[in-house]
């Protein structure tokens, strides 16, 4: 099947490029991490002031613009929005809180495992459990209602904002804040980061790669298309790590990671559950935002605010482990996501909204 071959090749390229980014200067096992990089950007523009995680990550900008360019070229760019935007904003915050409990988005979870960080196994277990919970609500009728076509400019704005951010970075705008030590200070050269981001953005747009969609579609439809991409990233990042000598199996002393298994697990339950409700993982949200989906742009903004909350309120984990504040926040988010799941499914109220639209 041609489609599956394409996503396996794309996953392979993404896995290898992720390792190369580490070679060029990114933190170990962090060639890509959507959550970490959005967190760094939040710090870089001063939304939080944790000195070790502040940088404008060109990979994020590249992902958005890569998806934008390829969707324009393929006439798949569609400016749209209106599918419960504020609920998505809140879910974006919750997913970020879960990801910074674990210290990674689903993509970095895979890259961590590929680098030998066995704590990621607990993350993956939690992620799968979270996806099962999300699927349970999908099967009970959960949805965030329809999105609608909007004027093109609305969809162009998010890519434009990203271009603006890149111009600020290049111009050396003095109000941006850059870490002098810690993960935020470790990065590949700007143009390499941008180009790799563009390539991965284009490949992800073309193949619809989604880390949460793989497991979700297997559970719901026995469809392994997206899961093939997920596994391909794991295998090729593993091979890349072996080649460059980065593979270092174990639980203790893994880069930008902690060994608190329960909270690694619970953090990723939250990420899996929230991402299923959103219809895609944090990477996929960036890609969709690049193709004109303003609901996804709002979700990314939620993640940005979520990252700032995480660092301003001491919720984010560190290599020392989870914080009490973070644990409380994850539990509050579970409650919040449960309420969102219940209210938007047909368990409590029979929903007729969709029917009404059909008759219009």
């Amino acid at each position: 099947m041609k489609g599956k071959k394409d996503i396996i090749i794309a996953g392979g390229i993404i896995g290898l490029l992720s390792v190369l980014l580490v070679k060029f200067g990114n933190p170990a096992n962090m060639g890509f991490c959507i959550a970490c990089f959005i967190r760094d950007i939040a710090g870089g523009i001063g939304l939080h002031s944790t000195p070790i995680v502040q940088y404008i990550r060109p990979e994020i900008i590249g992902l958005v613009l890569g998806a934008f360019i390829i969707s324009m070229k393929n006439k798949e760019f569609q400016s749209r929005g209106g599918s419960s935007p504020f609920t998505r904003f809140i879910l974006g915050i919750a997913v970020m809180i879960g990801a910074l409990m674990f210290l990674g988005c689903p993509l970095r979870m895979v890259l961590r495992l590929a680098g030998g960080d066995l704590n990621a196994i607990l993350g993956i277990a939690g992620f799968v459990v979270g996806i099962f919970v999300g699927v349970f609500f999908l099967n009970k009728g959960f949805n965030l209602k329809r999105s609608y076509n909007l004027p093109n400019f609305e969809g162009y704005l998010f890519p434009i904002v990203n271009v603006g951010l890149f111009v600020l970075l290049l111009s050396g705008f003095s109000m941006l804040i850059f870490s002098e030590e810690g993960p935020g200070s470790m990065h590949a050269p700007i143009w390499i980061s941008l180009i790799v981001g563009l390539i991965v953005g284009a490949l992800s747009q073309k193949t619809r790669l989604c880390m949460v969609g793989g497991t979700r579609d297997m559970i719901m439809f026995k469809d392994n298309y997206l899961l093939s991409g997920f596994l391909s990233i794991l295998v090729f990042a593993f091979i890349g790590n072996l080649i460059f000598g980065y593979f270092n199996p174990g639980f203790a002393n893994q880069p930008v990671a902690h060994t608190d298994g329960l909270w690694n697990f619970l953090g990723m339950v939250l990420v899996g559950w929230g991402s299923v409700l959103l219809g895609g993982c944090p990477l996929r949200q960036l890609i969709l935002a690049g193709e004109g989906n303003t609901d996804s742009a709002v979700t990314v903004m939620g993640s940005l605010v979520g990252a700032a909350i995480c660092h301003n309120f001491g919720l984010a984990s560190s290599p020392k482990g989870a914080t009490t504040n973070g644990q409380v926040a994850v539990l509050i988010c579970f409650l919040l996501v449960l309420v969102i799941s219940l209210v938007n499914s047909e368990m409590l109220v029979k929903q007729n909204n969709l029917k009404k639209v059909n008759n219009n």
Partner: protein
């Protein structure tokens, strides 16, 4: 013929709505879809079930005619 409208729904709703509809109407359905991702996902799902699909471009999207 049963017609479903999956326009504007985020993943995986288009496939889920298709699955529910085709289970109720195994003889065939019509699906109105407005983006390629949903179109491809629905196509993959229904082809795996052995259905024949025909695509008609309409003003507000693509109509997928699904028959045994």
């Amino acid at each position: 013929m049963e017609k479903i409208d999956v326009r504007g729904m985020s993943c995986p709703q288009p496939v889920l709505m298709t699955k529910n509809a085709i289970e109720k109407h195994p003889e065939g359905i019509d699906i109105l879809v407005d983006n390629n991702t949903a179109k491809n996902n629905i196509t993959r799902f229904l082809k795996n079930l052995g259905y024949k699909l025909e695509f008609k471009n309409e003003e507000d999207g693509t109509l997928i005619v699904v028959r045994k």
